[in-house]
């Protein structure tokens, strides 16, 4: 299996028939991108991916709109945890880091409005002394009462 096949297979396994939670999908998407130094352009049902000087590869990703929007919202939350108020709910340009890859950073831009959802991201090298890990929030348990914003 060559490198191209490897990251495409990993992305396909992650996104074509998602069996993971939103949080796990985002964590894995970031890890795959960092491990393979990928550039990703994902809009509607098409994910294009690019590595180094290679050609852009394309995957058809038919997931529920609510899943894609939650993935974008999670990335925005991670960016705001790292740099407060760096992106809005609906659009922005941010960066996130992953503790397993202290020498790399994900730069991304996105739109997450009702009518327009897309994500562009790229793994880039950073100086080691500027690394700031992304904090992980604890997972808690179920209750009956739910709430939402109005």
């Amino acid at each position: 299996m060559n490198a191209t096949t490897s990251y495409l297979d990993e992305l396909q396994a992650l996104l074509l028939q998602p069996t993971r939670s939103i949080i796990e999908i985002v964590d894995r998407l970031l890890s795959i991108s960092l491990e393979h130094h990928l550039q990703i352009d994902w809009r509607e049902n098409t994910l294009r991916v690019h590595q180094g000087d290679g050609d852009w590869e394309q995957l058809k990703v038919s997931i529920r709109k609510s899943i894609f929007r939650a993935i974008l919202a999670r990335l925005a939350t991670l960016a705001n945890e790292s740099t407060p108020n760096s992106v809005s709910l609906y659009e922005g340009r941010g960066k996130v880091s992953v503790s397993d890859h202290p020498d790399l950073l994900i730069h991304f831009s996105f739109s997450n409005s009702l009518g327009d959802q897309w994500l562009e991201l790229a793994a880039v090298s950073i100086p080691i002394d500027s690394f700031k890990p992304t904090s992980k929030e604890p997972h808690e348990t179920k209750t009956d009462l739910i709430q939402t914003t109005a």
Partner: protein, 109 residues
């Protein structure tokens, strides 16, 4: 609007665009992995300044309806209860008039 009429998959945000299609909530206890409800409400109010300011709507939803919204992408231990058509939204709309609800104020934005 949501308090009185309930979730509306045909709702269009001020300024136009496609319908909402779904309805997103958190468990009251969290975790709030997409940002806290109060912070989300403030950001939403900033995006729509003509909508009366930020607020949180708390709803006591029955377990059997919540269970319809649970799947691999949205397990309950991650705090998000995502109602889509076919995963609990229709049932939530039907039950809405009888559910206990109250509005929590949010300071700001």
């Amino acid at each position: 609007m949501i308090l009185i009429r309930g979730p509306d998959p045909t709702f269009v945000e001020p300024g136009g665009g496609p319908p909402a299609e779904n309805f997103s909530t958190y468990l009251e206890t969290g975790p709030f992995l997409l940002g806290s409800p109060s912070e989300y409400a403030r950001l939403k109010a900033l995006a729509f300044p003509g909508e009366g300011g930020p607020a949180i709507l708390a709803v006591d939803a029955p377990d059997d309806i919540i269970d319809l919204a649970v799947d691999a992408a949205f397990p309950l231990d991650q705090g998000i209860v995502q109602y889509d058509l076919g995963t609990g939204l229709e049932e939530l709309c039907v039950a809405w008039p009888s559910l206990k609800k109250h509005v929590l104020p949010v300071s700001g934005p």
